[in-house]
């Protein structure tokens, strides 16, 4: 099956795939932040005088909702640039 592919290249390819799959988590914050922005727009429409307060609360909520997306981004960046799996394989000394 793996003739012509070195183990290192295979691990690098799988790391890249893993990074791509990890970024699927970006779906969640997107939906959540959009929902928050929509509700914020509704609230400003209903109560325009409180626009500053509403915007601040909305941004704060969106920042917290973003956390899971940032975690997946960190995992993707680590897989791509730090390459822990490759290091682990080299350390095995096979």
């Amino acid at each position: 099956m793996l003739q012509g592919i070195t183990s290192e290249a295979f691990i690098l390819g799988c790391s890249a795939l893993g990074a791509g799959i990890a970024m699927i988590a970006g779906l969640g914050p997107g939906i959540g932040q959009g929902h928050a922005a929509g509700k914020g727009a509704e609230a400003v429409g209903r109560q325009p005088e409180a626009a500053g307060e509403i915007t601040r609360t909305m941004l704060l909520g969106q920042a917290v909702a973003e956390t899971t997306g940032i975690y997946s981004l960190i995992i993707a960046i680590i897989l791509l640039f730090v390459r822990p799996l490759l290091t682990a394989y080299v350390n095995l000394g096979l």
């Binding site: 941004l59 940032i70 975690y71």
Partner: protein, 223 residues
């Protein structure tokens, strides 16, 4: 432009990365700026209207003070200097990417340090205001069964706080690098709006959010 140092200390050589050098540059710039503002404020006469420069500074200080009044309460205005310094430092740190230097906040050590300061302040005021027993009791609410979850939730605060800033700024820089290599010589024409979003908008928003969350965390443990 990259500036790196190698320091020999205790018989070992350490590499001081570019991001840390940029922190020094920002700190020195802010110190000079603070000295200039201090002199101008002392020279200004109360009877005349303030100059344009002083007016902008006053607006900025007032904005931070209002923010603290809204989120932490008017009587905790003594946190003003720390919040003000944090906000100004983060603004400079995030926007330094616009002049071609690497933003210090794209180094995890910088954001983790800032988040740990927030965490320490939060725990200190939690201990001070509730007493040791009350502080420990706060973890067992609403029922004792949830204690591990509460502890993990408290420890996750600095992690998420630092990763949020770090991830946003690092991802912005990475996307801009990819973008530059993709468009090639057309970059000067197409890049400015992307810089406006990834550096300017994202940088200002993230520094605001970090400061805001710091205020909310500390304010939550004040009376």
């Amino acid at each position: 432009m990259t500036i790196e140092f190698t320091v020999n200390m205790f018989g070992k050589s350490f590499i001081i990365p570019e991001t840390i050098v940029n922190v020094w540059i920002i700190v020195i710039a802010l110190l000079i700026f603070a000295a200039v503002v201090n002199r101008k404020v002392k020279q200004a006469s109360v009877d005349e209207k303030p100059s344009n420069f002083l007016n902008v500074i006053e607006m900025y200080v007032e904005m931070i003070n209002n923010l603290i009044g809204d989120t932490m309460g008017e009587k905790h205005i003594r946190f003003g200097p720390y919040i003000f310094t944090l906000m100004t430092f983060l603004l400079f740190a995030n926007l330094i990417g616009l002049i071609g230097l690497t933003p210090p906040t794209s180094d995890y050590s910088v954001t983790l340090t800032l988040a740990l300061i927030t965490f320490t302040l939060t725990q200190y005021y939690g201990l001070k205001n509730n007493g040791f027993v009350g502080y420990l009791k706060g973890f067992t609410e609403p029922i004792a069964l949830l204690t591990p979850l509460n502890v993990i939730g408290e420890l996750a605060n600095p992690v998420s706080l630092s990763f949020r800033l770090f991830g946003n700024i690092l991802a912005g820089g990475l996307i801009m690098t990819l973008f530059y290599s993709a468009v090639g010589f057309l970059a000067p024409l197409i890049a400015p709006p992307f810089h406006a979003y990834f550096d300017l908008f994202s940088g200002v928003l993230q520094s605001f959010i970090f400061t805001m969350l710091t205020m909310v965390f500390i304010g939550g443990n004040l009376d």
